[in-house]
C-alpha cells in the first residue's frame, strides 16, 4: 500500500514525451493487419523454440504412422511417405525458415549498411566501384549465383544463408547509399562537421539514425524474400540437405504423391504462405508507422 502511494507521488506531472520509436510503435499497434502479423510471427517463433526441446513425435524417426495417411487424431497433419509425422516436421521446419530469413538479413545488414554509408558519404572512386558492383549483381540472375555458391560451398544451412545474402545485399546497399546521399546534404550534418565531428561519428551518430526507418522496413521485407528463396532452393533439392526438415523440402517430397496424400504438400505450403504474408503485413505496417508524413 505504501509502495503504491509512493509510486503515485513520484510519477511526473508532465506526460511522458513520446520518442520517435514509441510513437511508431503506437501507430503500428493501430494497424490491424500488422498486429495480426506480429501475433502470428510470435506464434511461429514460439513453435520453433518449442520444437528444439519437444515435438509430438521425433522429427527423423520413420514409421511412426502409416505412410501417406491423412490427418488423424494421432497425426494432425498426416504422415509422409517414410511414415514421419508431418506436424513434428513442420514445427522443426519453422526453425530453418526463421533462421534462414533472419540470418540472411543480419548478413545483408552487415554487408549493405557499411558499404552503402561509405559509398554515399565519401563518394568518389569507392562509390563508383560499389555502384558498379551493385549493377553487376543485379545483372546476374540471383538463382544462378545462389546455385553456383551452393555447389562451391556445399549445401548446408550456413552456406545457404551466405548464398542468399550474396544475392540480396545490393538492395540494402543501394537503399542506404541513397539515404546517405540525401542526408549528407542536410544542414545538421554540416553543423556537426562545423562542430568538429569525425566522419565516422557523423555516419554512425547522425546519418545512420536518420536512415534507420527505411533500413528496418527493407530488412523486414527482405526476411520473407529470403525464406521464399530458401524454400525454392529446397524444393529444387538444393536447399538444406535431408533429413533436416524444411518447408520447401517437405512440399517437394509431397508433390509426387499429391493425389494420394495432399496434406503433405498443403501443410508446409500453408505454413510458408502464412509466414510470408505475416512478414509482408508487418513490413507494410512498419512503413506506415515509420513514415513521418503519415502521422496520425
Amino acid at each position: 500500500m505504501a509502495a503504491t502511494a509512493a509510486a503515485v507521488i513520484t510519477r511526473p506531472i508532465a506526460p511522458e514525451q513520446a520518442s520517435l520509436w514509441s510513437d511508431a510503435w503506437r501507430r503500428l499497434r493501430r494497424n490491424r493487419l500488422a498486429l495480426a502479423g506480429v501475433i502470428y510471427l510470435t506464434f511461429v517463433l514460439i513453435i520453433a523454440l518449442v520444437a528444439i526441446v519437444w515435438t509430438p513425435y521425433s522429427t527423423f524417426r520413420v514409421g511412426v504412422g502409416i505412410p501417406y495417411s491423412g490427418p488423424s487424431s494421432q497425426h494432425w497433419f498426416g504422415v509422409d511417405g517414410l511414415g514421419r509425422d508431418t506436424l513434428s516436421r513442420l514445427m522443426a521446419g519453422a526453425q530453418v525458415s526463421l533462421i534462414v530469413g533472419v540470418g540472411t538479413q543480419v548478413l545483408v545488414l552487415a554487408i549493405g549498411v557499411p558499404i552503402g554509408l561509405a559509398a554515399g558519404y565519401f563518394r568518389g572512386l569507392f562509390d563508383q566501384v560499389v555502384s558498379f558492383l551493385i549493377n553487376l549483381f543485379y545483372g546476374i540472375p540471383d538463382l544462378l549465383v545462389a546455385l553456383i555458391l551452393v555447389f562451391l560451398l556445399g549445401p548446408s544451412l550456413t552456406n545457404i544463408i551466405i548464398a542468399i545474402a550474396v544475392t540480396r545485399w545490393m538492395d540494402m546497399a543501394r537503399l542506404v547509399r541513397g539515404q546517405t546521399l540525401s542526408l549528407r546534404e542536410r544542414e545538421f550534418v554540416e553543423a556537426a562537421r562545423a562542430a568538429g565531428a569525425k566522419p565516422a561519428k557523423i555516419l554512425v551518430g547522425h546519418i545512420l539514425p536518420n536512415a534507420l526507418g527505411p533500413i528496418i522496413i527493407q530488412a523486414t521485407f527482405g526476411i520473407p524474400a529470403a525464406i521464399l528463396f530458401e524454400a525454392f532452393l529446397s524444393f529444387l533439392g538444393l536447399g538444406v540437405p535431408p533429413p533436416t526438415p524444411t518447408w520447401g523440402g517437405m512440399a517437394a517430397e509431397g508433390i509426387v504423391t499429391i493425389r494420394i496424400s495432399p496434406a503433405m504438400v498443403i501443410a508446409p505450403s500453408i505454413a510458408l504462405s502464412l509466414t510470408l504474408m505475416a512478414f509482408n503485413f508487418l513490413g507494410d505496417g512498419l512503413r506506415d508507422a515509420l513514415d513521418p508524413r503519415g502521422r496520425r
Binding site: A191, G196, H206, P209
Partner: protein
C-alpha cells in the same frame, strides 16, 4: 589595439560549374580582433556565407578555396591537415547556422547534441552533461534540465536557435561565426537572440562574426562592419561611422533601403535598382557600376581598390559619397536609376 586573432588574406573561393568558374569570393581580406563583434553584410549571393565556410574549410562541392590565407594564431587554416582543422572546428572556431530547425538532428535528443560538441573534443560524458545543462541555462532556455531530454521538434524555433548557440559555445571558442542566425525566426525572437549574443559577447569575450543581410542586426550587435558585393569587400569600418557616413554608393543605397520609423511621410523607401550581378560573368571595372547612380567613365573599365576614406574606414569606389554629395547632390536625389546622378550611361562612353 591588440593583435588580431584571425587574419583573412586575399581569400579566393571558386565554384567550378558546367558553365564556367564562379568566383564566389574574390580577394577578401580582413582582420578579426579578440572579443569584437564584426558584421558581414551583403545581398544573397554576395559571398558572405561562402567566406565564413571558407574559413573553416566547409565549402560544399564543387567549391574550392583556390588561394589566400586564413591565419588563426599565425597558423594557416587552409594549409593544416584535415585532422587539425577538425580539432579547430567547434573548439576554437564554432559556427551556427541560419535555420535551427534543420541544423539540429531530428532523431537525437537536444541535450545529447550539445554534449556531442564537447565529446568531439575530448571531454568526458559526465563533464559534458553537467556543462550542457549549465549552457542551456546560460542561453536562457527555461527548465533547462528537463529540456535536455527533448527532441528538437518539441522545442520552439527560438529555443532551437538557443540550443544551437549553446552547442556553439560548448567548448568556449575564441570565435563564433553566426550565419544569419535570426533570419528564420520571428521578429520578437530575433531581438531576444541578438540580445543573448550581445551579452555572451560581452560576458565571455567570444569574438563574433555576424553574417547577415540585415543592417538592423549589424547596428544592434556589431562594432565593426564589412559590406560585401559580388564576392568582394566594398566597404569596411566602424559601425557608427559607416551608418553615419557611408562612402560606397552600395552601402549608401543599402542604408537608404531600410524603413525608418522617424522618416518623413513624403520620403520614399528606396530599393536598389537592378539585380545582383551574375558571378559567372561579373561586370568589368567596378562590379557595382551597372546599378550605381553616381558612376563615372572610369567605373566601367577600372576596378577600384579599397582605400582609406576616413580613419579606420576603407571603401572601394572611384567616386565615394563625399564627392557624390558635393558634386551630384546625392542627398536630394530622387531618381536613383543607374547613372542618373552622374549622367553617365553606357551608350555615351563608347
Amino acid at each position: 589595439m591588440p593583435s588580431p586573432i584571425l587574419k583573412v588574406k586575399d581569400l579566393q573561393t571558386q565554384f567550378l560549374t558546367h558553365d564556367g568558374i564562379v568566383k564566389a569570393v574574390d580577394g577578401v581580406s580582413f582582420d578579426l580582433y579578440p572579443g569584437e563583434s564584426l558584421g558581414i553584410v551583403g545581398e544573397s549571393g554576395s559571398g558572405k556565407s561562402i567566406t565564413a565556410l571558407s574559413i573553416l574549410r566547409l565549402v560544399p562541392d564543387p567549391g574550392r578555396v583556390v588561394s589566400g590565407k586564413v591565419l588563426f594564431h599565425d597558423k594557416d587554416l587552409l594549409q593544416i591537415s584535415d585532422e587539425e582543422i577538425r580539432e579547430i572546428r567547434g573548439r576554437d572556431i564554432a559556427m551556427i547556422f541560419q535555420d535551427p530547425q534543420s541544423s539540429l538532428n531530428p532523431v537525437l535528443r537536444t541535450g545529447f547534441q550539445v554534449d556531442e560538441a564537447m565529446l568531439a573534443h575530448g571531454k568526458s560524458k559526465a563533464e559534458a552533461r553537467s556543462r550542457t545543462i549549465e549552457l542551456l541555462n546560460k542561453v536562457r532556455i527555461p527548465a533547462a534540465a528537463s529540456r535536455y531530454k527533448d527532441f528538437p521538434h518539441q522545442l520552439s524555433g527560438g529555443m532551437r536557435q538557443r540550443a544551437m548557440i549553446a552547442m556553439g559555445l560548448a567548448n568556449a571558442p575564441a570565435i563564433l561565426i553566426a550565419d544569419e542566425p535570426t533570419t528564420a525566426l520571428d521578429v520578437t525572437v530575433q531581438a531576444q537572440i541578438l540580445e543573448l549574443l550581445t551579452d555572451l559577447n560581452r560576458e565571455l569575450g567570444t569574438a563574433i562574426v555576424m553574417i547577415t543581410h540585415n543592417m538592423g542586426v549589424v547596428a544592434g550587435l556589431c562594432s565593426r562592419v564589412i559590406v560585401m558585393y559580388a564576392g568582394q569587400i566594398v566597404e569596411q569600418g566602424p559601425v557608427d561611422q559607416i551608418f553615419e557616413n557611408p562612402q560606397h554608393p552600395y552601402t549608401w543605397s543599402l542604408l537608404k533601403s531600410i524603413p525608418r520609423v522617424d522618416a518623413l511621410r513624403h520620403e520614399r523607401l528606396r530599393s536598389i535598382e537592378g539585380i545582383a550581378p551574375d558571378l559567372l560573368h561579373p561586370p568589368s571595372g567596378c562590379r557595382f557600376h551597372p546599378r550605381c547612380p553616381f558612376r563615372v567613365e572610369k567605373c566601367f573599365t577600372d576596378e577600384p581598390l579599397l582605400q582609406e576614406v576616413a580613419p579606420g574606414q576603407v571603401a572601394a569606389c572611384w567616386v565615394t559619397m563625399e564627392r557624390a554629395r558635393k558634386e551630384m547632390g546625392a542627398d536630394e536625389l530622387v531618381d536613383i536609376r543607374p547613372g542618373a546622378a552622374s549622367g553617365v550611361h553606357p551608350g555615351e562612353i563608347i
